[in-house]
Symmetry: D3
Subunit: 62 residues, 6 copies
Amino acid sequence: MPVIRVEMLAGRTDEQKRTFAREVTKLACETFNCKPDTLHVVFSEIPRNSWATAGTLQSDKS
Amino acid sequence: MPVIRVEMLAGRTDEQKRTFAREVTKLACETFNCKPDTLHVVFSEIPRNSWATAGTLQSDKS
Amino acid sequence: MPVIRVEMLAGRTDEQKRTFAREVTKLACETFNCKPDTLHVVFSEIPRNSWATAGTLQSDKS
Amino acid sequence: MPVIRVEMLAGRTDEQKRTFAREVTKLACETFNCKPDTLHVVFSEIPRNSWATAGTLQSDKS
Amino acid sequence: MPVIRVEMLAGRTDEQKRTFAREVTKLACETFNCKPDTLHVVFSEIPRNSWATAGTLQSDKS
Amino acid sequence: MPVIRVEMLAGRTDEQKRTFAREVTKLACETFNCKPDTLHVVFSEIPRNSWATAGTLQSDKS
């Protein structure tokens, strides 16, 4: 049942997403006692010019 | 007022989205007693390498 | 696979949510060609003092 | 701490996002008494064929 | 059209939300050239035991 | 930078959330090469009468 949404800056590799999806599914199933086939992990990759921290776009930071 | 967000794998056609938007707006207005012009339907289309189920990226499934 | 999230003002009944969940699942499966058991509908009910339109909280509108 | 997510039709310029991010960060820090470096602004830009209002895709409206 | 979602720790007053909603609507309409009556601001107030930073729940921080 | 949102049925304990937050932060920092103090984990706990799977509210399932 849980849906885990990872919102992060764009640019990670499929291999990083593959590893994270596998490991976070194990972690969530152990911790929250749910079955893997009901668990979704969705990556939302945000371009640097669409994410600001402390009022500044990431694309404007060196 | 309701905002209906549909998060799904990328690849559906505009015609499918057109049909769903029209029909879900009718359904929501009838069921929740709201006016169509205040109802938004937003599709969030996720690439197959950004959605994992049971720990495996959709792009890695045959 | 699709996750349908309905963000709306709090106050609807379980019967309204039951009806909408049943019908939107049928509609989505027909339109997007997916299986019902992979489809989730999540209602996010927002209190009137946490939703503003045109700059005014719903709780401040008559 | 706050995360401010702006979901809007695609097509705005970086300059518009830069201005909004700067000003909304000031506004949120003053109003909610939080520090700028803990505040994130994330823009989610939706294509016109993925946003429907009153049952019609924006891309189908003149 | 824009939907502005503010995800923050629970505990702010209606007056703070009132002020922010009014001012962010003005800012967004000026910056993004949209009409106030199509702009929604939704506050999602998260309890301290449901928000973790640096691996620690806010409720566990002094 | 990443914001990890966990949307799940209400009812988990603080201890389960504490464990998951700690471990997922380690996992994300190792896998995505980011710093813990920029990583947020937000739990969104959904009542059983607000989550439907296969067209049926969880609260209507035995």
